[in-house]
Each structure stands twice: as structure tokens, then as C-alpha cells.
């Protein structure tokens, strides 16, 4: 019988909630706004952070990266001597080791403007370092003189509005480069245009001569853990060796520690939560206040406090679920549509953010309901006799 009474009272609670549509939509929009803001900002924040390790993600074959001990991230590089490659290859547990070059280059776009681009040089023989997914062309095409591959998103920046096609030429550090392939690469933190070519070709574009190796990429023996191989390389060469995961984490941590991004996004997210709590709390309180007399009538008629608590709980839950659903849907739509823009490429909405924002939305509605519940529980039913 208890459940039957509560079910009927819940039905009345919902009728009360939906009766004042303006307030209901106000509540839903409050929760939805907070949810949207949290998801959108968190998604972009994580997207930006993930760009810090984009180059690592594009080379899944390598599980250990070797570098100068002073390197803090992918952008602050101290070149290694060419001899280091041989030393790394001599470390037990290293199955293969190849040179990797990374630099900044200047590219002249189709409209004549200069843009900053990343230039990546991959091993001449194996081409390890080039993204695996080719949209147009093939790895073999990169063996031609002056041949480069360009990232698909970057292509649109150089040749604005043009359909992707092979055979274009471009000035890269004032030298001719021929687009022999278009690859699908990860969006980068510092530049949206990346050119990939052979190691020797990349050195030619930068006129830097020998001893310009940025990293040594290592594939460990299958029976060896990458961590063990990394430790062995460090012990034997004096260089810094990090597994892909560790290097990615280090690069991301560098962004967190040395940019204002976390503070900036954190502030917006906090504002979203605060505005959500304030707006939803106030509106829900107002809603309950306006219905306080009706709750008092129900009390006077003989409805128990526990039933009234259930009613407020149901009203709060419905507002929370609908608001959260709308907010999450709007955030998903944002990432779906914004993701089509190359500037937003790689931004996504992980389920963990959805879960986190759900927890925040639940907290917002719980706080609002708690405040409102006090009024309902302590309202004197005798007020029903007052005019």
C-alpha cells in the first residue's frame, strides 16, 4: 500500500511540476546550461591536453622515445648526435631504433600568406614516424624527391576551400615541396598544419646539417616490457628514455603546469556549477514556496511528511534528469557539429565527463531539493486556515 500511495502522490507531484511550465522549463534550462557548460568546457580542455601528445599518438609502432635528458615536452627539443642512434640500437631489448626529426617550418599558403607548420622527418627506410592512415597516396610515394605528406586538416589551411588532391606544390622554408600523400593525423597543440617527409629530406628543408635528430624511436623486443627497455637505454646511454605512455603524460603535464589553460577552463566550469546551483536552487525554492500552501493543505488532509519528501524528490529528479539529458545532448551535438571544423578536430566527449557532469547535476539538484525540503517539512499545516 505504501508504494501505491507514493506512486499516486508522485503523480500529483508531477502534475504540480508540469502545471507551471515557465518555472519547469526554467529549472530544466538551469540544469541543462550547467551540464552543457561542464561537458563542453571539459571536452575542449581534454581535447587540448590530448593534443600535447598528438605526435606520440601518430607513431603507435614506437613504444619507447629516447631524447636528451633536458627535454620537457615535444616542443622543447635538444638535438641528439647521430651517433646516439647506434648506441641505442646496441641496448639489449631494443628490437629496432630509428631517427625522428621534428621542427617548425614556414609554409606559404595558396593565397601567398605565411603560416607556421610542423615538419616531421621519419626514418628513410622504414618510414616509421609517418601516420599510418593514408587518405590519398601511399608510403612509397614519399620516396620521391621533394615528396611530402600533409595532414588532411592542415591541407585545408594551406589550400583554403579546395578539395584534397595530390600533386600540389608548396614552399616549405623557401624550398619546393611536392604533396605526394595526404594522411590522417592527430591535431597538434601548437600548429594545425603538419608536413611529413623522410628524415634526410626534412634535414634538407631545415638546412641544419648533421646531429639534428630530435628523438630516437624504439620498438622493444616482444618479450621485454617497454619500461625495462627504457630503463636499460637510460642506464647504458645516459639519455632519457620514456615509454610512449610516460612521454604523453609528461607532455600533457607540461601543458597543465605551464599554461593558464587549466585555470581558465576550471574557472568557466566552476562558474557553470555556481550558476547552476544558484539558478536551480533559487528557482526550485521559488517553485516550492509557491506551492507551500498546497503542501500544507496536503499535510492538513493527512498526507505524511515522508510522502511529501517523496514528492519533492520526484520533482527534483525529473528536473535533474531532463535538464541533464538536454544539456548532455546539446554538448554531444556541439562536439558532433564542431568536430567537422578542423579547428575543433580531435575534441570529443568522453563518457567519464558525461558521468562527472551527471554527478554535478545530481549535486545541484540535491542541494536545491534539500533547501526546498526544509520548507516543506517545517511548514505548519495550520496556515491553511489563514486567508
Amino acid at each position: 500500500m505504501c508504494l501505491q500511495v507514493q506512486a499516486a502522490m508522485n503523480r500529483i507531484a508531477l502534475k504540480m511540476l508540469f502545471h507551471d511550465l515557465a518555472k519547469y522549463f526554467g529549472l530544466v534550462i538551469g540544469v541543462a546550461f550547467s551540464t552543457l557548460l561542464i561537458n563542453q568546457q571539459m571536452g575542449i580542455f581534454l581535447g587540448l591536453l590530448s593534443r600535447g601528445g598528438a605526435l606520440i599518438d601518430d607513431v603507435p609502432e614506437a613504444n619507447v622515445w629516447v631524447m636528451d635528458p633536458g627535454v620537457k615536452n615535444l616542443d622543447t627539443i635538444f638535438p641528439l648526435r647521430d651517433i646516439e642512434l647506434g648506441r641505442v640500437r646496441g641496448v639489449p631489448g631494443v628490437k629496432w631504433a630509428v631517427p625522428y626529426f621534428k621542427s617548425v617550418a614556414t609554409v606559404r599558403t595558396a593565397t601567398g600568406e605565411l603560416e607556421s607548420a610542423l615538419l616531421v622527418g621519419a626514418d628513410d627506410n622504414s618510414l616509421i614516424g609517418i601516420p599510418l592512415e593514408f587518405v590519398l597516396g601511399s608510403p612509397e610515394d614519399l620516396r620521391r624527391p621533394d615528396a611530402v605528406a600533409v595532414g588532411k586538416d592542415g591541407y585545408g589551411k594551406v589550400w583554403l576551400g579546395e578539395e584534397i588532391a595530390l600533386g600540389k606544390t608548396v614552399e616549405l622554408n623557401d624550398r619546393r615541396a611536392y604533396v605526394a600523400a595526404i594522411v590522417k593525423d592527430s591535431p597538434k597543440f601548437t600548429s594545425s598544419i603538419t608536413f611529413y617527409t623522410r628524415y634526410s629530406q626534412a634535414l634538407a628543408y631545415t638546412n641544419n646539417g648533421r646531429n639534428q635528430m630530435s628523438f630516437v624511436l624504439v620498438g622493444s623486443e616482444p618479450e621485454k616490457k617497454p619500461e625495462e627497455v627504457a630503463r636499460a637505454i637510460e642506464a647504458q646511454t645516459g639519455l632519457m628514455a620514456l615509454t610512449s605512455d610516460a612521454f604523453r603524460a609528461k607532455a600533457v603535464q607540461y601543458i597543465i603546469d605551464n599554461t593558464g589553460i587549466p585555470v581558465s577552463f576550471g574557472t568557466v566550469i566552476a562558474l557553470g556549477v555556481i550558476v547552476g546551483v544558484c539558478v536551480v536552487g533559487l528557482m526550485f525554492n521559488l517553485f516550492v514556496l509557491e506551492n507551500l500552501r498546497h503542501f500544507a493543505v496536503l499535510k492538513a488532509i493527512g498526507i505524511k511528511n515522508s510522502r511529501l519528501v517523496g514528492m519533492v524528490f520526484v520533482q527534483a529528479c525529473v528536473v535533474g534528469f531532463v535538464g541533464y539529458g538536454v544539456g548532455l545532448g546539446a554538448a554531444a551535438a556541439f562536439f558532433e557539429f564542431a568536430g567537422r571544423d578542423p579547428n575543433f578536430a580531435g575534441f570529443f566527449l568522453p563518457w567519464k565527463i558525461g558521468l562527472a557532469s551527471g554527478t554535478v547535476a545530481a549535486s545541484i539538484i540535491a542541494i536545491a531539493a534539500m533547501v526546498a525540503l526544509r520548507r516543506v517539512l517545517f511548514v505548519e499545516p495550520a496556515i491553511v486556515f489563514r486567508g
Binding site: Q4, V5, I12, K15, V297, A300
Partner: protein, 252 residues
């Protein structure tokens, strides 16, 4: 305590018995005594009016009788049970089963239809929503409001809303109905109609009705009128027969 000696009253059962009800509001030096030792009996089958000027304590008294407010001292027995001795949850159950309310402002829930409003007391007692609404419709039909059962309060006139409130007070067959200014928001004709309805209800079933009112046009419906002033019952009269009892303030 005033007792009536004629044989008719001896036969009537006491629905409400108030003994020495005192009620203070505030605390410390700001305490205000609103009721000064009220003794009152309300009999089954009768309509008892509580009348008096604003602020005399009528509303406080019915709130205490209904168990919505605790007296500072004194006892209230409803149908032989002392409500002051009941635990909170038991009192809520008791009120839910035995008392119906009619308010001056109707106090209908605007989000519910007439039938749903009238069904609320049944729902609170565990009757399913559908069955409660069906019973409420039947009650509304008895009050000639059946065709308005699906209308919302804002689609009804004041008189119709009060009839819905009457239906709500009756639907669970309570033994005591407490009416607070039931005709104050109604025109004279509608007010008379509502009172006729209440009179009929009081006489036809084993039920007592308490009416708080300022409206002297409806005094003729009362079996007993308790005049309250300054928190005391100054006079109890029986306007409808020759056995009227009049008491003076000095007798308290």
C-alpha cells in the same frame, strides 16, 4: 464547562470535547495568550458555529481541534480519543480518516482536476489513484458537479470550487468536518446553497460539522452557535429551537 440538560442533548454523542484549552504564541515577555481556557462540546449530527470578531481565536481553536496545532495546555477528545496523547504519525492517520476540511480560499490544487482534487484524501489513505478519482467523481455527482469533474479549478466559479472542496471533505466519509468561513468567498445565493448542503450532510449521517464564520446570513443553519471573544467562549446559543442556552462571561 457548559452542559445542557434537556433529553435530546443527553442522547447525542459527543464528537469533540475541549477541556481548558489554552494557547499561547511567542515566548518570554512577548508571549500572547490567544485562547484562555476554552471548554466546548460539539455533538454528532449537529452543525456548530464558532463566531466572533477577527483575532478572537476561532481559527486557532479549529486548528487545535483538527490536530494541526498543539494547545499550550488542555485536552481535546475527538470521538472519545485524546488527540494530544497520539504520536505524530498516529495523529496524521487519525486526521486523514476522521476529519474533512473546507477552507475559505478553497485551497484546491490548481494542477489537479476537480475530481483529482476531491480524490486526494482517499489517495492519502492508500486507495489507488484511479479508484480514488472514480469515487471522487461519484461524490461530485452527488453534489451536482459531475459534469465539471475534469475541469481545473481556474475553469470553475467560486461556488463550483467550493463544491469541489466540499466533495474533497466528504469523499473519505469523515466523522468531523471543519469549515473555515465556507461562504466568505461566495455570493449570498451560492453561500446559502453550500450551507444547505452541509446541513443535509450533518443531519443525514452520523457526523459533526464545525463552521467558523462571520457571515450572519447563515446563522440559521446552525444547531449551536458558540460566540468567542478575546479567546473565551462568551455565549453558546441554539438558534433553531427553544432550548437555547445562553451563558454570560461571568460563568467561565
Amino acid at each position: 464547562m457548559v452542559s445542557l440538560n434537556n433529553s435530546i442533548q443527553q442522547e447525542k454523542k459527543v464528537a469533540v470535547a475541549c477541556r481548558g484549552i489554552i494557547r499561547d504564541f511567542g515566548a518570554g515577555q512577548a508571549v500572547t495568550r490567544v485562547l484562555h481556557g476554552i471548554d466546548l462540546e460539539v455533538f454528532v449530527g449537529e452543525i456548530t458555529f464558532l463566531v466572533g470578531p477577527s483575532g478572537c481565536g476561532k481559527t486557532t481553536l479549529i486548528s487545535i481541534i483538527a490536530g494541526l496545532l498543539n494547545p499550550t495546555s488542555g485536552s481535546i477528545h475527538l470521538f472519545g480519543e485524546e488527540i494530544g496523547a497520539m504520536r505524530s504519525s498516529r495523529l496524521v492517520d487519525f486526521r486523514s480518516k476522521n476529519i474533512g476540511f473546507i477552507f475559505q480560499q478553497f485551497n484546491l490544487l490548481p494542477s489537479l482536476t476537480a475530481a483529482e482534487n476531491a480524490a486526494v484524501p482517499l489517495i492519502g489513505q492508500g486507495v489507488s489513484f484511479r479508484k480514488a478519482v472514480a469515487e471522487a467523481v461519484a461524490t461530485l455527482e452527488q453534489l451536482e458537479m459531475g459534469k465539471h469533474a475534469k475541469k481545473y479549478p481556474n475553469q470553475l466559479s467560486g461556488g463550483q470550487q467550493q463544491r469541489v472542496a466540499v466533495a474533497r471533505s466528504l469523499v473519505h466519509h469523515p466523522r468531523l468536518i471543519i469549515c473555515d468561513e465556507p461562504t466568505a468567498s461566495l455570493d449570498a445565493t451560492t453561500g446559502q446553497a453550500v450551507m444547505e448542503m452541509l446541513k443535509k450532510l450533518a443531519s443525514s449521517i452520523d457526523r459533526a460539522i464545525i463552521v467558523v464564520t462571520h457571515d450572519n446570513r447563515i446563522f440559521s443553519f446552525a444547531d449551536r452557535i458558540a460566540h468567542i471573544a478575546d479567546g473565551k467562549i462568551r455565549e453558546i446559543e441554539r438558534p433553531s429551537n427553544s432550548d437555547s442556552l445562553r451563558i454570560t462571561p461571568t460563568e467561565f
